[in-house]
Amino acid sequence: MRLRKSSAFIAFTVINVTGLALLFAHGAVERQRQAPVLDEKRIIVQRLGLTDLCLFTDARYTRNPAVADRSTPFQDNPMSLDYFPSGSILPPPPHLRAHELDR
């Protein structure tokens, strides 16, 4: 007996959904497994008094955006445009718009 096309589609979808469910289960297991690693990172942050993640290391205002000031992207001269690639994808921290010294 030939397999109906709809049966093949249902089987394919069930396999995909099962695969996705297994990946999500992997996510849950991995979160448990990584909990001590996250704690270790938090302890490093606490011990060293860090304020930022090490995502970009090319410019100082993208290495430590939380403690950057507004003029750093224009550090070379007032008309100089931000030329670091990371500066173009990193928005200014929200608190820089709030403090009177940054206006």
Binding site: K5, L20, L38, F56, T57, N64, I89, L90
Partner: protein, 377 residues
Amino acid sequence: MNWIDKQRNIVDFALSSLLRRWKKNLALLCVYTFVVFIVASVVFFAEALKREAGLVLEGAPDVVVQRLVAGRHDLISRGHMEKLGSITGVSDVKGRLWAYYFEPSVGANYTLVVTEEAAGRPGTVAIGAGVSRTLQAGEGDLIAFRGHDGAYVSLEVARVFPSSSELVSADLVEISEADFRALFGLPDDIYTDLTLRVRNPKETVVVADKIRRLLPDTRPILREEILRTYEALFDWRGGIVLAIFAGAALAFIIFAWDKATSLTLEERREIGILKAVGWETSEVLLMKSWEGIVISLTAFLLGLILAYVHVFFTSGTLFEPVLKGWAVLYPRFQPVPFIDPYQVATLFFLTVVPYTVATIIPSWGAATIDPDTIMRQ
């Protein structure tokens, strides 16, 4: 014929119809899967980093106080520290010493941080895995730093931070206060900035306000503001996510628009024949909906699986050039999979629903015209 049998017959017919144009539909499925893959990768990656930043930066200082001179961050004196210690609610004030250091031999930027623990072992440093990689230096090796006077100072690597902590420590060099001050020529009463511990966390905003009034040349940065910086960075509406998301979203809009506005002559003729042999308009639309669901559901599931593998098994390799920029030292990290049903539901409504609707609209237009007119076109 019960409802399920009817649906299965229509699905059989829809699949036969798709297979008749298999080359076109396969190409469509590949493009669609790729778009879902990119969008899902961005969402998974951004959410994982946002959640991780929230958890890890819980350890950040309650308040960081910076001195600003002429719009720029400047060094702060011990006098400021003593004044801050007098504020009610502040339990502890510490001077923080940290600096950027450019290593010309490899073209990488490092972050030098002073800790109390390092004071006990002058002449040595603990380095991040990224520093170790770029300098090819391990425990026991000597690293030469160029001091403010041009003289080189060699410090021994006492420890390398574990590579699992690269997201916070890749470019760090932990150094003693004496070595730091000697290297940069800083006097004893000067710090990079100050950190405060506030006794009652609910009073942090009040303390920050007091700092602004007591020391008008300083800027307090609260831990909540640090956390918000990363929420903004990985927010859907801006920053890095928007940069990657915009390209994929535009591709999807063009793709859905093309589908919504065009129906080939062959497809129109097929609808006409179905109407002529007795299919109801609702049945034609149902068949077309199934065509849309088959393509979009398959693309959605495959795209999601590939995105998960990309982000959480290969550390988001495709995003590496974006994050790397001009940096020589790039942290290698494996995001922790923080995914929830909300993200999946959002992706579903962003991808499957618009495409399915875009498939039905032109078919509805063709299905309501007289079959004879369509077949004569």
